[in-house]
Symmetry: C2
Subunit: 270 residues, 2 copies
């Protein structure tokens, strides 16, 4: 297909979303998506540069990588761009002391951060910890601040677990934004800063890079706004209506990561 040759010409680096592309999370950690373990291995044996770019915020980077290695993936912590470390950097730079509305699994990422007398709220995908009580506590803290600062690790609408679609942090961000009359600062996809830091670590320019993800807005739209190309996989949270999204059109739609890698190995960097 000549069309793929044109679409993928000059690609030298690949950013891979993790959840919904490599695996579906769920009971017992989750399951790899068929063909993805081998697809990552083939990509890494090729001349293409590879980096993982995730909004995962329920687990620390270490725990996420340990889980993926158990599932068979060739991946190390240094290859992953994730929002928690990026958030810690911002907190330190701006002297912010967070109240954390997060999942216990990611709490260790904030061990070195001063959390006394909070002057901001940091929220991530807290899952079951998004209780009314915890949401209300964060709300009350924001309402008592003269200049309320709300930082969110990602703003996803939902993600897919093996048991079905699950509400993501973005829904709860919208709740606090509305209640407090404020706008959150998002660390993670689709923030341009986040994609740029991943590209920098990858060592290629935006026009030489392609994002592969299951989120039409966060992955595809976000990457394209940074000048990258982007493929949407029909796994994870993909829904058929995504191919007719009113605002975002991917550079290509593929059944899964395996098909994306087949195409890349055949056509990229030609």
């Amino acid at each position: 297909m000549a069309v793929w040759g044109e679409r993928l010409a000059g690609v030298r680096g690949v950013l891979l979303d993790i959840s919904g592309v490599l695996y579906d999370s769920g009971e017992g950690g989750g399951v790899p998506i068929a063909g993805s373990v081998d697809a990552v291995a083939r990509l890494k044996r090729s001349q293409l540069k590879v980096r993982f770019c995730t909004n995962e915020s329920q687990k620390s980077r270490g725990e996420l990588v340990a889980l993926l290695r158990r599932l068979g993936f060739d991946i190390s912590e240094e290859e992953v761009t994730a929002p928690a470390p990026a958030t810690c950097q911002i907190l330190k730079e701006r002297g912010l002391r967070p109240h954390l509305l997060i999942h216990d699994g990611v709490r260790s990422e904030f061990d070195q951060i001063d959390k006394s007398s909070p002057n901001c709220v940091v929220m991530a995908d807290a899952g079951e910890s998004f209780s009314y009580q915890n949401m209300n506590k964060a709300f009350q803290i924001l309402m008592e601040l003269e200049n309320p600062v709300l930082i969110s690790l990602g703003k996803g609408r939902y993600y897919k677990e093996t048991s079905g679609l699950m509400l993501d942090v973005g829904a709860y961000v919208k709740a606090l934004e509305y209640a407090c009359g404020i706008e959150a600062e998002v660390v993670g996809k689709p923030s341009p800063e986040f994609f740029k830091s991943a590209l920098q670590a990858l060592g290629v320019e935006a026009h030489q890079a392609i994002m592969i993800g299951d989120d039409i807005v966060g992955d595809i739209g976000g990457a394209q706004r940074c000048g990258m190309r982007a493929l949407q996989v029909r796994t994870g949270k993909f829904r058929p209506s995504d191919e007719h999204h009113p605002e975002v059109k991917a550079d290509g739609y593929v059944d899964n990561l395996a098909e994306a890698v087949d195409l890349l190995l055949q056509h990229a960097d030609k």
Copy 2:
């Protein structure tokens, strides 16, 4: 003050918000706001027509009225416009079978409604029942519907309990709207239909009526858009910044319901 004489001239009917105007809810049911029991009694002895117009959706109308009577208020069920009965009417008219994301206290209002094979979600101020699990269940049902319908009893940002500010249903409406990419239908203030039904029950025209509430957007802005006048009380969820709201300006600001009634008895219907 001549200015009040002008502002209140021709008022023949009064709509009273309940929470934050008559009482603050909280431990043990709540406490009356100082002077409000007597203020309601004085209003009802006057020539002015009085009706209560509430977005309360944690309690059935019967339970709410019983609580207020225990606190000393002269009030009966027939005098209250509330969103649950209005919602049941809509469900019946449109053949909708709701999945209910509500507080147990209001469940009895929906006893006569068919809830098998839900084809919509009805949400109210569920309080502690806004768990992640319950929110996710409502989300999953909406995502499985071809034409998802979300009906919300009110869309308040927050309300005040004796222990502090509390997240209201509107925050959770925003969460589901964002996650599902839909817009909720709101039954309750500030919906014009809701104010109109209260006015009809009151038996006066909009230009002859005044709303007294603590919510600058839901009470004051909503009533004014219907052609009514509106006073904001400095009790309940009132915050000083409300007096400089970028979009809504009340026809007057008063310390509490007692002051509003003093002014009305002095100047209304002249």
